[in-house]
Protein backbone atom coordinates (compact mmCIF):
# COMPACT_ATOMS: atom_id res chain seq x y z
CA UNK A 1 0.00 0.00 0.00
CA UNK A 2 2.85 2.43 0.81
CA UNK A 3 6.04 3.13 -1.15
CA UNK A 4 9.41 2.16 0.26
CA UNK A 5 10.15 5.79 1.05
CA UNK A 6 6.90 6.20 2.99
CA UNK A 7 7.70 3.04 4.95
CA UNK A 8 11.23 4.28 5.58
CA UNK A 9 10.03 7.63 6.90
CA UNK A 10 7.30 5.97 8.92
CA UNK A 11 9.52 3.42 10.60
CA UNK A 12 12.57 5.70 10.96
CA UNK A 13 11.01 9.13 11.15
CA UNK A 14 13.47 12.03 10.96
CA UNK A 15 13.35 14.93 13.41
CA UNK A 16 10.87 13.55 15.91
CA UNK A 17 10.72 15.63 19.08
CA UNK A 18 10.22 19.08 20.49
CA UNK A 19 12.19 22.32 20.44
CA UNK A 20 12.15 24.31 23.65
CA UNK A 21 11.47 28.00 23.12
CA UNK A 22 10.89 27.35 19.44
CA UNK A 23 10.66 30.31 17.06
CA UNK A 24 7.37 28.94 15.80
CA UNK A 25 5.06 26.05 16.63
CA UNK A 26 2.15 24.93 14.48
CA UNK A 27 -0.45 22.28 15.28
CA UNK A 28 -3.01 21.26 12.69
CA UNK A 29 -5.62 18.54 12.22
CA UNK A 30 -7.88 17.17 14.91
CA UNK A 31 -8.20 14.03 16.90
CA UNK A 32 -11.72 13.50 15.59
CA UNK A 33 -10.41 12.80 12.11
CA UNK A 34 -7.51 10.80 13.42
CA UNK A 35 -4.54 12.97 12.65
CA UNK A 36 -2.77 15.80 14.40
CA UNK A 37 0.58 17.23 13.35
CA UNK A 38 2.75 19.59 15.33
CA UNK A 39 5.85 21.19 13.86
CA UNK A 40 8.46 23.16 15.80
CA UNK A 41 10.78 25.55 13.97
CA UNK A 42 14.01 27.11 15.14
CA UNK A 43 14.65 30.11 12.89
CA UNK A 44 17.73 32.30 13.19
CA UNK A 45 18.06 36.06 12.75
CA UNK A 46 18.82 35.65 9.05
CA UNK A 47 15.52 33.86 8.59
CA UNK A 48 17.08 30.42 8.09
CA UNK A 49 15.39 27.37 9.55
CA UNK A 50 18.20 25.88 11.58
CA UNK A 51 16.27 23.14 13.22
CA UNK A 52 12.88 21.54 12.93
CA UNK A 53 11.10 18.85 14.95
CA UNK A 54 7.71 17.25 14.76
CA UNK A 55 5.18 15.16 16.63
CA UNK A 56 2.30 13.41 14.91
CA UNK A 57 -0.74 11.44 15.97
CA UNK A 58 -1.93 9.62 12.89
CA UNK A 59 -1.53 6.89 10.35
CA UNK A 60 1.64 5.75 8.61
CA UNK A 61 1.24 8.35 5.87
CA UNK A 62 0.73 11.13 8.41
CA UNK A 63 3.97 10.25 10.18
CA UNK A 64 5.88 9.86 6.91
CA UNK A 65 4.66 13.16 5.45
CA UNK A 66 5.56 14.99 8.67
CA UNK A 67 9.00 13.46 8.63
CA UNK A 68 9.56 14.31 4.98
CA UNK A 69 8.23 17.85 5.44
CA UNK A 70 10.73 18.48 8.23
CA UNK A 71 13.53 17.21 6.00
CA UNK A 72 12.44 19.51 3.20
CA UNK A 73 12.33 22.69 5.29
CA UNK A 74 15.51 22.12 7.24
CA UNK A 75 18.20 24.66 6.31
CA UNK A 76 15.81 26.60 4.10
CA UNK A 77 14.83 30.24 4.40
CA UNK A 78 11.37 31.12 5.58
CA UNK A 79 10.39 32.06 2.04
CA UNK A 80 11.74 28.84 0.61
CA UNK A 81 9.87 26.85 3.25
CA UNK A 82 6.69 28.64 2.32
CA UNK A 83 7.05 27.39 -1.26
CA UNK A 84 7.03 23.74 -0.21
CA UNK A 85 3.72 22.29 -1.26
CA UNK A 86 1.97 19.08 -0.41
CA UNK A 87 2.83 17.91 -3.94
CA UNK A 88 6.53 18.33 -3.21
CA UNK A 89 6.15 16.30 -0.02
CA UNK A 90 4.28 13.58 -1.91
CA UNK A 91 6.82 13.51 -4.74
CA UNK A 92 9.67 13.24 -2.28
CA UNK A 93 7.93 10.17 -0.86
CA UNK A 94 7.40 8.64 -4.33
CA UNK A 95 3.65 9.12 -3.97
CA UNK A 96 0.84 8.36 -1.55
CA UNK A 97 -2.32 6.27 -1.94
CA UNK A 98 -5.23 8.53 -3.02
CA UNK A 99 -6.98 8.25 0.36
CA UNK A 100 -3.84 9.54 2.05
CA UNK A 101 -3.33 12.69 0.01
CA UNK A 102 -4.90 14.70 2.82
CA UNK A 103 -1.95 13.73 5.03
CA UNK A 104 0.39 15.66 2.73
CA UNK A 105 -1.98 18.65 2.86
CA UNK A 106 -1.80 18.42 6.62
CA UNK A 107 2.01 18.53 6.46
CA UNK A 108 1.94 21.65 4.29
CA UNK A 109 -0.55 23.24 6.67
CA UNK A 110 1.56 22.34 9.68
CA UNK A 111 4.58 24.15 8.21
CA UNK A 112 2.41 27.16 7.41
CA UNK A 113 0.96 27.12 10.91
CA UNK A 114 4.44 27.08 12.45
CA UNK A 115 5.54 29.93 10.17
CA UNK A 116 2.41 31.88 11.06
CA UNK A 117 3.21 31.46 14.74
CA UNK A 118 6.79 32.62 14.09
CA UNK A 119 5.55 35.70 12.23
CA UNK A 120 3.10 36.53 14.99
CA UNK A 121 5.75 36.16 17.68
CA UNK A 122 8.15 38.37 15.76
CA UNK A 123 5.45 40.81 14.78
CA UNK A 124 6.29 40.51 11.10
CA UNK A 125 4.28 39.82 8.02
CA UNK A 126 5.35 36.99 5.72
CA UNK A 127 4.18 37.71 2.26
CA UNK A 128 2.04 34.99 0.76
CA UNK A 129 1.34 33.30 4.09
CA UNK A 130 -2.31 32.97 5.00
CA UNK A 131 -3.74 32.10 8.36
CA UNK A 132 -3.68 28.31 8.36
CA UNK A 133 -6.85 26.29 8.43
CA UNK A 134 -7.01 24.13 11.49
CA UNK A 135 -9.14 21.47 9.86
CA UNK A 136 -8.10 20.27 6.45
CA UNK A 137 -11.00 17.87 6.13
CA UNK A 138 -13.66 20.53 5.66
CA UNK A 139 -13.96 20.13 1.93
CA UNK A 140 -13.83 16.36 1.63
CA UNK A 141 -16.81 14.49 0.36
CA UNK A 142 -18.58 11.68 2.08
CA UNK A 143 -19.35 8.39 0.40
CA UNK A 144 -22.94 7.59 -0.43
CA UNK A 145 -24.50 4.20 -0.39
Amino acid sequence: MYTEKVMDHFTNPRNVGEIENASGVGTVGNAKCGDIMRIYLDIDEAGIINDVKFKTFGCGAAVATSSMATELVKGKTVNEALQITNKAVMEALDGLPPVKVHCSLLAEEAIHAALWDYAEKKGILIEGLERPKSDIHEEEESVEY
Binding site: Y2, M7, F10, T11, P13, V16, E18, T27, A31, K32, C33, G34, D35, I36, M37, R38, K55, T56, F57, G58, C59, G60, A61, A62, V63, V99, H137, E140, S142, V143, Y145
Partner: protein, 392 residues
Protein backbone atom coordinates in the same frame (compact mmCIF):
# COMPACT_ATOMS: atom_id res chain seq x y z
CA UNK B 1 6.95 -18.29 4.02
CA UNK B 2 8.14 -16.50 7.11
CA UNK B 3 6.35 -17.35 10.33
CA UNK B 4 3.42 -15.09 10.87
CA UNK B 5 1.13 -14.74 13.83
CA UNK B 6 -2.38 -14.54 12.51
CA UNK B 7 -4.59 -12.71 14.98
CA UNK B 8 -7.35 -11.63 12.64
CA UNK B 9 -9.67 -14.63 12.74
CA UNK B 10 -12.73 -12.39 12.88
CA UNK B 11 -11.77 -11.14 9.40
CA UNK B 12 -11.37 -14.62 8.00
CA UNK B 13 -9.92 -17.96 8.96
CA UNK B 14 -7.64 -20.52 7.42
CA UNK B 15 -9.50 -23.13 5.40
CA UNK B 16 -8.86 -26.41 7.19
CA UNK B 17 -6.93 -29.04 5.19
CA UNK B 18 -9.77 -31.53 5.77
CA UNK B 19 -12.16 -29.02 4.23
CA UNK B 20 -9.96 -28.48 1.19
CA UNK B 21 -9.64 -32.23 0.81
CA UNK B 22 -13.41 -32.69 0.93
CA UNK B 23 -13.87 -30.00 -1.72
CA UNK B 24 -11.26 -31.13 -4.24
CA UNK B 25 -13.16 -34.02 -5.91
CA UNK B 26 -15.99 -31.64 -6.74
CA UNK B 27 -13.90 -29.57 -9.12
CA UNK B 28 -12.54 -31.99 -11.69
CA UNK B 29 -14.13 -35.34 -10.81
CA UNK B 30 -17.73 -34.65 -9.83
CA UNK B 31 -18.29 -31.53 -11.85
CA UNK B 32 -21.81 -32.25 -13.02
CA UNK B 33 -24.58 -29.69 -12.66
CA UNK B 34 -26.75 -30.80 -9.71
CA UNK B 35 -29.88 -29.88 -11.68
CA UNK B 36 -29.16 -32.47 -14.37
CA UNK B 37 -31.00 -35.79 -14.37
CA UNK B 38 -28.22 -38.26 -15.08
CA UNK B 39 -26.58 -40.31 -12.36
CA UNK B 40 -23.23 -38.47 -12.71
CA UNK B 41 -24.85 -35.23 -11.53
CA UNK B 42 -27.23 -36.56 -8.93
CA UNK B 43 -24.38 -37.46 -6.62
CA UNK B 44 -23.64 -33.74 -6.47
CA UNK B 45 -27.19 -33.12 -5.43
CA UNK B 46 -26.68 -35.60 -2.63
CA UNK B 47 -23.46 -33.90 -1.58
CA UNK B 48 -25.33 -30.59 -1.32
CA UNK B 49 -28.08 -32.18 0.73
CA UNK B 50 -25.55 -33.78 3.06
CA UNK B 51 -23.97 -30.39 3.72
CA UNK B 52 -27.36 -28.79 4.19
CA UNK B 53 -28.27 -31.48 6.66
CA UNK B 54 -25.08 -31.01 8.72
CA UNK B 55 -25.68 -27.26 8.88
CA UNK B 56 -29.38 -27.60 9.72
CA UNK B 57 -28.58 -30.03 12.51
CA UNK B 58 -25.93 -27.73 13.96
CA UNK B 59 -28.56 -25.10 14.72
CA UNK B 60 -31.67 -27.16 15.37
CA UNK B 61 -33.22 -26.34 11.99
CA UNK B 62 -34.86 -28.46 9.35
CA UNK B 63 -32.93 -29.26 6.18
CA UNK B 64 -35.56 -27.45 4.11
CA UNK B 65 -34.89 -24.22 5.99
CA UNK B 66 -31.26 -23.69 4.88
CA UNK B 67 -30.64 -21.69 1.70
CA UNK B 68 -27.09 -21.33 0.41
CA UNK B 69 -25.94 -17.90 -0.67
CA UNK B 70 -22.72 -16.41 -2.02
CA UNK B 71 -21.81 -14.80 1.31
CA UNK B 72 -23.05 -13.72 4.70
CA UNK B 73 -23.52 -10.27 3.22
CA UNK B 74 -25.83 -11.65 0.55
CA UNK B 75 -27.82 -13.47 3.23
CA UNK B 76 -28.19 -10.21 5.19
CA UNK B 77 -29.26 -8.29 2.10
CA UNK B 78 -31.74 -10.97 1.23
CA UNK B 79 -33.25 -11.19 4.70
CA UNK B 80 -33.86 -7.46 4.90
CA UNK B 81 -34.87 -6.58 1.36
CA UNK B 82 -37.04 -9.60 0.75
CA UNK B 83 -38.82 -9.38 4.10
CA UNK B 84 -39.68 -5.76 3.49
CA UNK B 85 -40.97 -6.78 0.08
CA UNK B 86 -42.99 -9.77 1.24
CA UNK B 87 -44.55 -8.03 4.25
CA UNK B 88 -45.29 -4.69 2.60
CA UNK B 89 -48.97 -5.14 3.38
CA UNK B 90 -48.18 -5.26 7.11
CA UNK B 91 -45.85 -2.28 7.18
CA UNK B 92 -42.52 -0.77 6.28
CA UNK B 93 -40.60 -0.53 9.53
CA UNK B 94 -37.39 -2.36 10.53
CA UNK B 95 -35.64 -2.28 13.88
CA UNK B 96 -31.94 -2.94 14.13
CA UNK B 97 -29.01 -1.92 16.33
CA UNK B 98 -26.37 0.76 15.93
CA UNK B 99 -23.53 -1.73 15.96
CA UNK B 100 -24.55 -4.02 13.11
CA UNK B 101 -22.15 -5.03 10.37
CA UNK B 102 -22.22 -2.82 7.29
CA UNK B 103 -23.98 -5.63 5.43
CA UNK B 104 -27.00 -4.73 7.57
CA UNK B 105 -26.46 -1.00 8.09
CA UNK B 106 -25.82 -0.11 4.48
CA UNK B 107 -28.73 -2.28 3.38
CA UNK B 108 -30.92 -0.37 5.85
CA UNK B 109 -29.65 2.94 4.46
CA UNK B 110 -30.52 1.73 0.98
CA UNK B 111 -33.99 0.68 2.11
CA UNK B 112 -34.53 4.05 3.82
CA UNK B 113 -33.95 5.73 0.47
CA UNK B 114 -36.76 3.56 -0.85
CA UNK B 115 -39.28 4.55 1.78
CA UNK B 116 -38.59 2.02 4.50
CA UNK B 117 -38.40 3.34 8.04
CA UNK B 118 -35.57 2.09 10.20
CA UNK B 119 -35.00 2.46 13.94
CA UNK B 120 -31.43 2.02 15.11
CA UNK B 121 -31.52 0.98 18.75
CA UNK B 122 -28.73 2.12 21.08
CA UNK B 123 -26.32 -0.17 22.87
CA UNK B 124 -24.82 0.30 26.32
CA UNK B 125 -21.13 0.99 27.00
CA UNK B 126 -20.35 -2.70 26.56
CA UNK B 127 -22.21 -2.99 23.28
CA UNK B 128 -25.31 -4.74 24.60
CA UNK B 129 -28.54 -3.66 22.96
CA UNK B 130 -30.99 -1.70 25.11
CA UNK B 131 -33.90 -4.12 25.33
CA UNK B 132 -36.41 -1.59 26.70
CA UNK B 133 -35.64 0.74 23.83
CA UNK B 134 -35.95 -2.14 21.39
CA UNK B 135 -39.39 -3.12 22.68
CA UNK B 136 -40.61 0.48 22.72
CA UNK B 137 -39.53 0.89 19.11
CA UNK B 138 -41.98 -1.76 17.93
CA UNK B 139 -44.90 -0.32 15.95
CA UNK B 140 -47.89 -1.99 14.32
CA UNK B 141 -46.00 -1.55 11.04
CA UNK B 142 -42.80 -3.23 12.22
CA UNK B 143 -42.02 -6.17 9.97
CA UNK B 144 -38.58 -7.17 11.18
CA UNK B 145 -36.12 -6.98 14.05
CA UNK B 146 -32.56 -7.65 12.94
CA UNK B 147 -29.89 -7.82 15.64
CA UNK B 148 -26.51 -9.44 15.23
CA UNK B 149 -25.72 -12.48 17.38
CA UNK B 150 -22.18 -11.36 18.27
CA UNK B 151 -20.32 -8.27 17.21
CA UNK B 152 -17.43 -8.62 14.78
CA UNK B 153 -15.35 -5.82 16.30
CA UNK B 154 -15.81 -5.94 20.04
CA UNK B 155 -17.10 -9.51 20.36
CA UNK B 156 -20.13 -8.63 22.48
CA UNK B 157 -22.81 -11.33 22.46
CA UNK B 158 -26.36 -10.00 22.39
CA UNK B 159 -29.14 -11.31 24.65
CA UNK B 160 -30.66 -13.37 21.86
CA UNK B 161 -33.19 -15.19 23.98
CA UNK B 162 -34.64 -11.94 25.29
CA UNK B 163 -34.75 -10.36 21.84
CA UNK B 164 -36.41 -13.50 20.45
CA UNK B 165 -39.01 -13.36 23.22
CA UNK B 166 -39.76 -9.70 22.54
CA UNK B 167 -40.14 -10.40 18.82
CA UNK B 168 -42.45 -13.31 19.47
CA UNK B 169 -44.55 -11.37 21.98
CA UNK B 170 -45.19 -8.64 19.43
CA UNK B 171 -45.48 -11.01 16.49
CA UNK B 172 -42.53 -9.50 14.64
CA UNK B 173 -40.04 -11.53 12.62
CA UNK B 174 -36.55 -11.85 14.10
CA UNK B 175 -33.45 -12.03 11.93
CA UNK B 176 -29.90 -12.33 13.22
CA UNK B 177 -26.56 -11.91 11.53
CA UNK B 178 -24.69 -14.83 13.13
CA UNK B 179 -21.63 -14.60 10.90
CA UNK B 180 -19.29 -14.28 13.89
CA UNK B 181 -21.23 -16.59 16.21
CA UNK B 182 -22.07 -19.68 14.16
CA UNK B 183 -19.53 -22.37 14.99
CA UNK B 184 -18.24 -20.42 18.00
CA UNK B 185 -21.34 -20.51 20.20
CA UNK B 186 -24.17 -22.94 20.80
CA UNK B 187 -27.10 -21.83 18.69
CA UNK B 188 -30.57 -23.31 18.57
CA UNK B 189 -32.95 -21.32 16.42
CA UNK B 190 -36.00 -22.74 18.18
CA UNK B 191 -34.85 -21.97 21.73
CA UNK B 192 -33.96 -18.45 20.67
CA UNK B 193 -37.02 -17.93 18.47
CA UNK B 194 -34.88 -16.92 15.49
CA UNK B 195 -36.85 -16.69 12.24
CA UNK B 196 -33.94 -15.95 9.94
CA UNK B 197 -30.22 -16.27 10.40
CA UNK B 198 -27.23 -15.36 8.21
CA UNK B 199 -23.87 -17.09 8.36
CA UNK B 200 -20.70 -17.44 6.34
CA UNK B 201 -18.30 -20.36 5.85
CA UNK B 202 -14.98 -18.57 5.87
CA UNK B 203 -15.35 -17.47 9.49
CA UNK B 204 -15.28 -21.07 10.71
CA UNK B 205 -12.41 -22.48 8.67
CA UNK B 206 -14.52 -23.05 5.58
CA UNK B 207 -14.06 -21.63 2.09
CA UNK B 208 -14.73 -18.01 1.11
CA UNK B 209 -17.66 -17.12 -1.12
CA UNK B 210 -20.32 -19.28 0.50
CA UNK B 211 -22.88 -18.52 3.16
CA UNK B 212 -26.44 -19.35 3.99
CA UNK B 213 -29.68 -17.85 5.13
CA UNK B 214 -31.81 -19.88 7.48
CA UNK B 215 -35.48 -19.12 6.86
CA UNK B 216 -37.97 -20.65 9.28
CA UNK B 217 -40.76 -22.62 7.65
CA UNK B 218 -43.78 -20.37 7.27
CA UNK B 219 -41.85 -17.14 6.87
CA UNK B 220 -42.82 -15.49 3.63
CA UNK B 221 -39.71 -14.43 1.86
CA UNK B 222 -39.28 -13.55 -1.77
CA UNK B 223 -36.49 -14.56 -4.02
CA UNK B 224 -33.85 -11.90 -4.62
CA UNK B 225 -31.83 -13.68 -7.29
CA UNK B 226 -34.11 -14.75 -10.12
CA UNK B 227 -33.38 -17.54 -12.56
CA UNK B 228 -33.42 -21.30 -12.29
CA UNK B 229 -35.14 -23.38 -9.67
CA UNK B 230 -32.19 -23.88 -7.31
CA UNK B 231 -32.57 -23.57 -3.53
CA UNK B 232 -36.28 -24.31 -3.60
CA UNK B 233 -36.69 -21.58 -6.20
CA UNK B 234 -35.62 -18.96 -3.75
CA UNK B 235 -32.02 -18.38 -4.76
CA UNK B 236 -31.30 -19.06 -8.39
CA UNK B 237 -27.88 -19.89 -9.81
CA UNK B 238 -26.02 -23.16 -10.25
CA UNK B 239 -24.92 -24.31 -6.84
CA UNK B 240 -21.32 -23.73 -5.78
CA UNK B 241 -20.91 -27.43 -5.10
CA UNK B 242 -17.27 -27.53 -3.94
CA UNK B 243 -17.85 -24.66 -1.50
CA UNK B 244 -21.12 -26.10 -0.22
CA UNK B 245 -19.35 -29.40 0.43
CA UNK B 246 -16.50 -27.53 2.12
CA UNK B 247 -18.99 -25.59 4.22
CA UNK B 248 -20.59 -28.79 5.45
CA UNK B 249 -17.22 -30.25 6.37
CA UNK B 250 -16.19 -27.05 8.17
CA UNK B 251 -19.40 -26.97 10.20
CA UNK B 252 -19.05 -30.64 11.08
CA UNK B 253 -15.53 -30.02 12.42
CA UNK B 254 -16.48 -26.74 14.11
CA UNK B 255 -19.33 -28.40 16.01
CA UNK B 256 -17.22 -31.42 17.01
CA UNK B 257 -14.32 -29.28 18.24
CA UNK B 258 -16.29 -26.37 19.67
CA UNK B 259 -15.85 -27.13 23.35
CA UNK B 260 -12.10 -27.84 23.33
CA UNK B 261 -11.35 -25.17 20.77
CA UNK B 262 -13.17 -22.35 22.51
CA UNK B 263 -11.66 -23.36 25.85
CA UNK B 264 -8.20 -23.06 24.35
CA UNK B 265 -9.04 -19.77 22.66
CA UNK B 266 -10.43 -18.36 25.90
CA UNK B 267 -7.23 -19.18 27.73
CA UNK B 268 -5.09 -17.51 25.09
CA UNK B 269 -7.38 -14.51 24.84
CA UNK B 270 -7.46 -14.02 28.60
CA UNK B 271 -3.67 -14.22 28.81
CA UNK B 272 -3.47 -11.58 26.10
CA UNK B 273 -5.96 -9.25 27.82
CA UNK B 274 -4.40 -9.70 31.23
CA UNK B 275 -0.88 -8.92 30.06
CA UNK B 276 -1.90 -5.90 27.99
CA UNK B 277 -3.95 -4.40 30.81
CA UNK B 278 -1.26 -5.02 33.40
CA UNK B 279 1.74 -3.95 31.39
CA UNK B 280 0.59 -1.03 29.25
CA UNK B 281 -0.74 2.21 30.77
CA UNK B 282 -3.68 4.20 29.34
CA UNK B 283 -5.42 1.28 27.68
CA UNK B 284 -9.00 0.05 27.86
CA UNK B 285 -10.82 -3.09 26.78
CA UNK B 286 -13.75 -2.50 24.45
CA UNK B 287 -16.79 -4.73 24.66
CA UNK B 288 -18.40 -6.79 27.39
CA UNK B 289 -15.94 -8.64 29.60
CA UNK B 290 -18.16 -11.71 30.06
CA UNK B 291 -20.72 -11.84 27.27
CA UNK B 292 -18.02 -11.94 24.66
CA UNK B 293 -16.84 -14.21 21.84
CA UNK B 294 -14.12 -16.48 23.21
CA UNK B 295 -11.54 -15.48 20.61
CA UNK B 296 -12.00 -11.71 20.64
CA UNK B 297 -9.87 -9.04 22.31
CA UNK B 298 -10.36 -5.37 21.50
CA UNK B 299 -8.29 -2.57 23.05
CA UNK B 300 -8.01 1.17 22.75
CA UNK B 301 -4.56 2.62 23.33
CA UNK B 302 -4.82 6.26 24.23
CA UNK B 303 -2.79 8.89 22.29
CA UNK B 304 -1.99 6.70 19.30
CA UNK B 305 -3.64 5.87 16.01
CA UNK B 306 -4.57 2.36 14.97
CA UNK B 307 -3.20 2.16 11.45
CA UNK B 308 0.32 3.05 12.60
CA UNK B 309 0.06 0.31 15.15
CA UNK B 310 -1.14 -2.20 12.54
CA UNK B 311 1.68 -1.43 10.12
CA UNK B 312 4.27 -1.81 12.85
CA UNK B 313 2.71 -5.08 13.98
CA UNK B 314 2.74 -6.21 10.37
CA UNK B 315 6.46 -5.51 10.18
CA UNK B 316 6.77 -7.94 13.07
CA UNK B 317 4.65 -10.45 11.12
CA UNK B 318 1.60 -10.01 13.31
CA UNK B 319 -1.76 -9.73 11.52
CA UNK B 320 -4.40 -7.66 13.36
CA UNK B 321 -7.06 -5.06 12.64
CA UNK B 322 -8.25 -1.71 13.91
CA UNK B 323 -11.36 0.42 14.01
CA UNK B 324 -9.41 3.53 13.08
CA UNK B 325 -10.70 5.72 10.26
CA UNK B 326 -7.57 5.12 8.25
CA UNK B 327 -8.30 1.44 8.02
CA UNK B 328 -11.94 1.88 7.11
CA UNK B 329 -11.30 4.22 4.21
CA UNK B 330 -13.46 6.93 5.73
CA UNK B 331 -12.77 9.78 8.10
CA UNK B 332 -14.80 8.39 10.95
CA UNK B 333 -13.55 5.64 13.17
CA UNK B 334 -15.60 2.50 13.71
CA UNK B 335 -19.33 3.11 14.18
CA UNK B 336 -19.29 0.33 16.78
CA UNK B 337 -16.72 2.06 18.97
CA UNK B 338 -18.57 5.37 18.65
CA UNK B 339 -21.86 3.66 19.55
CA UNK B 340 -20.41 2.32 22.81
CA UNK B 341 -19.54 5.91 23.65
CA UNK B 342 -15.83 6.17 22.88
CA UNK B 343 -14.60 9.63 21.90
CA UNK B 344 -13.17 9.77 18.38
CA UNK B 345 -9.52 9.94 19.41
CA UNK B 346 -9.87 6.85 21.61
CA UNK B 347 -11.73 4.98 18.87
CA UNK B 348 -8.92 5.80 16.42
CA UNK B 349 -6.47 4.01 18.68
CA UNK B 350 -8.24 0.68 18.72
CA UNK B 351 -6.76 -2.72 18.06
CA UNK B 352 -8.67 -5.96 17.50
CA UNK B 353 -6.93 -9.28 18.01
CA UNK B 354 -8.87 -12.47 17.35
CA UNK B 355 -7.13 -15.73 18.20
CA UNK B 356 -7.52 -19.25 16.84
CA UNK B 357 -6.64 -22.60 18.32
CA UNK B 358 -3.48 -22.63 16.21
CA UNK B 359 -2.02 -19.78 18.25
CA UNK B 360 0.38 -20.64 21.07
CA UNK B 361 1.12 -18.96 24.39
CA UNK B 362 4.52 -18.00 22.96
CA UNK B 363 2.77 -16.24 20.08
CA UNK B 364 0.67 -14.29 22.56
CA UNK B 365 3.70 -13.32 24.63
CA UNK B 366 5.66 -12.27 21.54
CA UNK B 367 2.68 -10.19 20.40
CA UNK B 368 2.25 -8.43 23.74
CA UNK B 369 5.99 -7.65 23.85
CA UNK B 370 5.81 -6.09 20.40
CA UNK B 371 2.64 -4.13 21.23
CA UNK B 372 4.38 -2.69 24.27
CA UNK B 373 7.36 -1.49 22.23
CA UNK B 374 5.23 -0.10 19.42
CA UNK B 375 2.76 1.72 21.67
CA UNK B 376 5.71 3.28 23.49
CA UNK B 377 7.35 4.36 20.23
CA UNK B 378 4.15 5.86 18.85
CA UNK B 379 3.37 7.68 22.07
CA UNK B 380 6.80 9.29 22.03
CA UNK B 381 5.82 10.64 18.61
CA UNK B 382 2.35 11.76 19.65
CA UNK B 383 1.44 15.41 20.29
CA UNK B 384 -1.57 14.19 22.30
CA UNK B 385 0.70 12.28 24.65
CA UNK B 386 3.03 15.27 24.89
CA UNK B 387 0.12 17.53 25.91
CA UNK B 388 -1.18 14.96 28.37
CA UNK B 389 2.19 14.49 30.07
CA UNK B 390 2.76 18.24 30.32
CA UNK B 391 -0.60 18.77 31.97
CA UNK B 392 0.09 16.05 34.52
Amino acid sequence: MEKKIYLDNAATTKTRPEVVEAMLPFFADFYGNPSSVYEFATQNKKAIDDSRSIIAKAMGADISEIYFTGSGTEADNWALKATVDAYASKGNHIITSKIEHHAILHTCEYLQKHGVEVTYVDVDENGIIKLDQLEKAIRPTTVLISVMFANNEIGTIQPMKEIGAIAKKHNVLFHTDAVQAFGQLDINVNDLNIDMMSASAHKLNGPKGIGFLYIRKGVKIRSMIHGGGQERQRRAGTENVPSIVGYGKAVEIAMATMKDRTEKELKLRDRLMKRVLEEIPFVRVNGDKIRRLPNNANFSFQFIEGESLLIMLDMNHICASSGSACTSGSLDPSHVLLAIGLPHEIAHGSLRLTVSDEITEEDIDYTVDRIKEIVDKLRKMSPLYEDFMKKK
